[in-house]
Amino acid sequence: MLAIDGSFLDFKQLDLLALRQTAVHRLDPRAKVLTTLCFIVCVVSFDKYQISALLPFLIYPVTLIAVGDLPPGYILRKMLFVLPFALLVGLFNPIFDRQVILQIGPLDIWGGWVSCLSILLRAILTASAAIILVAITGFPAICEALEKLKMPQAFAVQLLFLYRYIFVLTDEGVRTARARQLRTFGRRGLDLRHFSSLVGHLLLRTWERAERIHMAMLARGFSGEVHSTHKQSHFGKPELIFTVCWVALFILLRLYNAPQLLGSLFTGSMQ
């Protein structure tokens, strides 16, 4: 429980990173959201055995970490938090997919291993892109950008509230779990009956809190719309250049397998 506690609290670091003032931080959030979206679509649209063509996509996170002055170690640690889930998804591929698609000397490589590796690589790419987006934009600004890009306001507000209260909720969850743990005297595991009651209580408490928040909103004249007061940002030339250049690169890398081209160039010239 402590590990989850720590990693959630660590999200606060992302907010602090978003306050920095570098060239990419200053860009209009819409440019960054669109580019990241494009990046993710390109990465996930490869076929399942693809590895080599995915590698050049690393340039996007690496460049942004460098230009955005982000601590690489921190981003890496955040990604490690996501990787186990990706591993779970790809875990069974080597068992079910035993078609040999590659032979290195005496070693047969099953398709399952390749696709598992591909899943991991995609997870690393997409997760890092998302984490970097939050670190160079800030979550509230992303919500605002999504709203400007015509996402319904209800969703944007929902996301904002999720981000605001995830800390409060995890705090409550951790405290409840701790209270339970202190009275179980070393008996391992959490049986279903206790677990459901624990989660049920958490739900009820969240419900009550939601009611109190609504009360606080009404008390300050809330009438169904949340307006934000962020600085008016402008989608200008730098944003256009940023978006167009990156998207063009992603499309090129998606259409042409760069490492393969490079390889054939070398082998071609050597013949």
């Binding site: 981000y163 209260y165 809190r209 109190r212 009404l218 008390a219 300050r220 004249g221 009438s223 007061t229």
Partner: protein, 273 residues
Amino acid sequence: MSHHIVETRHLKHIYPDGTIALKDVSFRIEHGESVGIIGANGAGKSTLLLHLNGYLTATSGEIIIGDDPLTKQNLAVIRRTVGMVFQDPDDQLFMPTVFDDVAFGPINLGLSRAEIETRVSEALSRVEAGALRDKPPYHLSCGEKKRVAIATVLSMLPEILVLDEPTNGLDPYARRLLIALLKGFHHTRIVTSHDLDMIFELCERTIVLHEGEVMADGPTLEIFRDNALLDTCRLEKPLAMQGCPVCSPEHRPLPKKPPLVEPHSRKPHQHNH
């Protein structure tokens, strides 16, 4: 200036589950008064507060803010007049940054951008939280959250401030700061709390609620001198009015009560496993 008056007449509230929270509550609070509302747990304090800005509707009786009785029609005006600070600041601070939170009320009032900016700056400097304006609320300490929560209400320029347990969960120093801050306000103030020392210091008048009824209403000092009243309402003198337990000979010891749990006997435990 009659806007600052709060009056309730025979207020009664029964919750849907049949609990009678308020039986018959009547009082009139005049302009600029600072009034403490005290009572045991379940005496009806929170229910009463939720009526004052129209969140709960009375089963019977009426509430008058300023000159007009509270109705569905003038709810918006009433909510601007009565600034409500909730007990848990996490409920009150729901926007991404302190600035957004303090600006939430003024924006809903439809003010201009420049006006919003000045209102927010004024409210934040009033509670000495100007430096926090760009921080997200979950980066604040409890004392800071409480002060910002008050600023979110001040920015709407309310005439009446209603505070639910303002000193709850604060360390002694933050509590001191908050009391000094509240003392400086000119608003009509209604404060509920179990922190009787704070009530003693902050409010010249106190209303004692007991099982949904007003048991006493008068000058704070008189109320806290009435031992019989305090005993029936499950209250106690503020520590400031009690004798020092170390050096005062007339110090009244607490009545001896039998312990809730039988003390263990000297014999070692007999375990049956």
